[in-house]
Symmetry: C2
Subunit: 271 residues, 2 copies
């Protein structure tokens, strides 16, 4: 169960070394898992359509992970269940000149989903306490202030109808090596291979320390973090789908009331 295993109480410390990336929980293997995912995709679609027409809330899914951990695959296989019309994906890369000329939340704020929508952040404002910290792109005195700004910002969103779910896809360095090797060797995947990924890989421990602190300091009731074991893709998809279904079900979504006196309208003939 996602709620039980993959989330900490606000204030409690996240210890990533205590969470096994190859865990497959109570699930009974890949084959059954993939069938189960198909069913859940239908549940997700139904819930999202309700979110869309209800229009009183939006859902913001923040995805963070090391390279190769499966952000793209999660978006494809789980969040791909949603209707394109109700879904928007924002991918945050290296900030542009204009973005760097604003505070770090400026470009994030612009990408927040409007009510009724699902917004997916592929990377997010958390990069400002992850890559920025690990690669020392800003001094600690600066990035350390970001935790509080992030919590304040997320509370603003939550109080404005945005339900926030933050997911860290937790992969092991061994599994990452496998996937990097796969990209390096399989001709149809070689275009994905980026030497920059190797530079991040050697900083693995620094990244884990940065993640642990970010997850711990920014884990609130209104914007919880989930750590999802991600070595097994099928299991990762199941846990993420479970988290999203639980979250959407807790939102008490309703179809709007029909127009008054709906029966009184006559549909005109057209010759």
């Amino acid at each position: 169960m996602a709620e039980r295993d993959y989330r900490r109480l606000p204030g409690e410390r996240y210890d990533l070394s205590a969470i096994d990336p190859s865990d497959t929980g109570d699930y009974e293997g890949k084959k059954k898992g993939e069938k189960e995912l198909e069913k859940r995709r239908e549940v997700l679609l139904e819930l999202q359509r309700k979110l869309h027409v209800d229009g009183r809330n939006s859902l913001l899914v923040v995805l963070q992970a090391m390279d190769c951990a499966g952000k793209d695959g999660t978006i494809r296989h789980v969040l791909g269940a949603f209707e394109p019309q109700g879904t928007q994906v924002a991918s945050f890369k290296v900030p542009s000149e204009e973005e760097r000329a604003h505070d770090f939340l400026w470009r994030i704020h612009k990408a927040v989903p409007r009510l009724g929508m699902v917004g997916i952040f592929n990377r997010s404002h958390y990069e400002e306490v992850l890559v920025v910290r690990v690669k020392e792109l800003k001094p600690e005195a600066v990035w350390r202030t970001h935790f509080e700004h992030i919590n304040n910002f997320e509370r603003l969103l939550a109080e404005s109808g945005v339900t926030i779910v933050k997911i860290f896809l937790h992969i092991s360095p061994e599994e990452q090596a496998e996937r990097l090797r796969d990209r390096q060797q399989r001709p149809e995947k070689q275009w994905k291979f980026s030497p920059g990924d190797l530079e991040d890989r050697v900083r693995w421990k620094s990244y884990m320390a940065a993640y642990e602190e970010a997850l711990t300091l920014c884990n609130t009731d209104h914007a919880p973090w989930y750590v999802v074991p991600a070595d097994k893709k099928w299991h990762r998809n199941l846990v993420v789908s479970e988290i999203l279904i639980e979250t959407l079900k807790n939102m008490d979504l309703q179809y709007p009331d029909p127009v008054a006196d709906i029966d009184s309208y006559v549909i005109p003939d057209i010759e």
Copy 2:
């Protein structure tokens, strides 16, 4: 075949009364059709992933139709095959105060997909020669200038890497009446029923005349219009999928070259 039946040569007149909205072409019925669509969704996904990583072109799908003709369903069932990360939907409703304070293409231009992306317009700049014309929201001297502006704008996009496909979902007034009645009577659909749809319905002939002129005057080699018979949803989905597959296949999409000396990189160990 979509190319043969549902498209006119530039300059040729579109006569909507000559295209049967309940046509099911060469297809062999709903059941086989739905199976075929499943296969095509996989082809579409593969092509879109290639479009995304190729990054030299984008695809813009413009959807126009009368109410209930199935724009939402087409987006869900056909364009839903694409990855959320490579797809963006823009729905153009009544312009806001800010949008009205600009030229009619301003808000459209902002929503054009960047290279690598699929953009879907649920309604579009064509409303400016359709609803605006039929409801006399602007004088003819104004909206009549729009045809040329639209052609110029679409040529700008086409010459900048945007492949444009424009689709008119062609429904009969009888089928629309069925679908309106369905919304009116089925409790789970009643929230969709809007009296405004009836107001548009009584103007059916004016709308068809406006569509015929827009399709005829804005049907260019770089931004062709397709008329898709849409009374049968399964057939509509097949024709739209066919048009999109043909269009994407004609784009000569390529995976990027891998980084130079890819074999020379050593994946570092992490203890």
